[in-house]
């Protein structure tokens, strides 16, 4: 029983963290129509940033500043925001799919840098030596995980409320106006590119926050955590849940994460040994089919966007 509960807590913690990243993507794609092809890089920047700033001293790479946890977390978030700002400023004024290509490139380059620059990130071995806050004072790992789960849910709730408030504010109205008709918005004296850049940077910082929590949870980060697969998963979550709808995004995160873990578990349990080598392959086909299928047959997702008339 305790085993099952602790597994469920583990599952729900990861799903909540991923849901935060989905909410960040929803601000970019769902509310503003910006295509981010490199979610993994912004998530990863938050994770690496946190461990770099908040970790203990390691022999083979820089870091070990042991900063106070919230400071390190904010540091990672700012790093995500900085990368987003640089990419955004270069691409947002161009053809809309340039952002897709450039962000995809950022993710490839980020993963490549983290894998190769041992002095910076520990290379393929990843970064260890992070002491989770309060881990020493809470002896029982089960209790710690439950507390951390509650913390993650609180952060998720905070981000959700923030974004709900944001999209109901004049700024949210502006985002939708630009998404629907850029020229019309411009004719009313709005600066679409600036607004888009703001939304892109804020969305990426939310992804960075998710990455920071993820790294806190595992007290470890490696290039395996920032593979393009993560980007696909986050997208599938948003598209299934319903882009433009924050509740949909959270629902999608839990559904897709459940489908991903369940399919992995079933394949490892029931598939013949030779087929297990192809577990990842089969899972990718599943995610790819889900993305294409949803776009073909239910592009609005399970919970469609609600029209908000802000007063």
């Amino acid at each position: 029983m305790i085993g099952l509960i602790s597994y469920l807590v583990f599952f729900a913690t990861v799903a909540s963290i991923l849901a935060i990243a989905v909410l960040g993507l929803n601000l970019q794609w769902g509310n503003t129509g910006l295509f981010n092809g490199g979610v993994a890089a912004f998530f990863g920047a938050g994770a690496y940033g946190l461990i770099l700033l908040g970790g203990t001293e390691q022999a083979d790479h820089i870091g070990g500043f042991e900063l106070f946890y919230p400071v390190a977390l904010v540091g990672g978030i700012l790093l995500s925001g900085l990368i987003a700002w640089v990419v955004g400023i270069l691409t947002i004024r161009l053809r809309r799919d340039y952002l897709a290509i450039a962000t995809f490139g950022v993710a490839v380059a980020f993963e490549n840098l983290m894998r190769n620059a041992e002095w910076l990130s520990g290379g393929a071995k990843g970064m260890r030596g992070f002491e989770r806050p309060f881990e020493d004072s809470i002896a029982d790992p089960f209790v710690f995980n439950i507390i951390f789960f509650c913390f993650s849910v609180l952060v998720l709730l905070g981000v959700y409320l923030f974004l709900e408030k944001l999209i109901r504010s004049p700024f949210g109205r502006l985002l939708r106006a630009i998404r629907e008709d850029e020229v019309a918005a411009q004719s009313l004296g709005k600066a679409p590119n600036q607004v888009r850049l703001t939304a892109f940077v804020v969305g990426s910082m939310i992804m960075g926050l998710a990455g920071g929590l993820y790294a806190t949870f595992y007290a470890f980060v490696s290039p395996q955590d920032v593979l393009p697969t993560l980007t696909f998963q986050i997208w599938a979550m948003l598209i299934v849940g319903g882009s433009g709808n924050n509740q949909g995004g959270i629902l999608g995160a839990f559904l897709i994460w459940a489908a991903w873990t369940a399919s992995g578990w079933m394949l490892s349990k029931f598939a013949p040994v030779e087929a297990q080598l192809y577990t990842g392959t089969l899972q990718y086909i599943m995610i790819g089919m889900i993305i294409v299928g949803m776009l073909l047959w239910r592009p609005q997702g399970l919970l469609p966007e609600k029209l908000i008339v802000s007063q």
Partner: protein, 304 residues
Amino acid sequence: MIQHLLDGILVGSILSLGAIGLTLVMHTLRFANFSHAELLSVGAYAALVFDGIFGALYPQIRSTLDPLSLTWSLILAILFAMIVTGLSAILIDKLVFRRIREKGDELSMVFASFGVAMVLRNLISLFFGLKSQLFSNDIAFAIVISRDPMILVKPDQVFVLVAALMVMLLFHLILSRTTFGYALQAVAENPVLAQISGVNLSRMLKMIWLIGGSLAALSGIFYGLNNQINPVIGRDLVLPIFAATIAGGIGSVYGAVLGGFLVGIASNLVLMILPSGYSPAVPFLIILGVLILRPNGILGEARA
């Protein structure tokens, strides 16, 4: 230095072939097609299959054409693979992209192309396995061109470069000398206006997929001849091909060729100063550089 330059030119010619199709599709259908690079793998594996079939049916065509490691059976297989890949590109468009296009959102097509890429790549892994394969298990000996500095070239590489350049020349002649070529350029420039002038748009779109797919197949096969064939060819080449397209200017076929060589040569020259592990990141740096210096590419024009 010269060795790196030669390798770069060779890789460049392979990337150029891939970039031509991508630039045509991106210009005409207005979406960044992330599944284009998977057509390279489709082509390489199709050639592998056809080569096996032809070799088994007619053993006499399996002898190699000295000094190349190429066989007549593989040459025949290349032609078939190009057609099959072109037809698969049309089929994918019919199944997925056209339907989403009709709903009207261009960026949804970018999403869909990621999904398509994922499905294609992993279906290939499922059918052909994750291991790398080769067209020929014979060891191709390199010819020493000079000892100081050491310059090595394989006969196959010379063949690939010459063949790629000839295909590009042929495509140039078609574009600049035939009515079909004009129609193709007109569609790429302005689909609606081309239709008014009596160009059959849906047929031209099919031709674009056919040409793009077959050139991608050729690119993938040449890549396989030069390296190995594995299911992640598409994953490894998607960014270099995009970089070539952006550097050349989206919509410009000649730009794509130029961009291909630029990316190929730059990625190889960088190996002189950086460890080889960093080479996958080079195309991204090129994209950044182009976006800063010349956002519409070398030969591209500004358009919304």
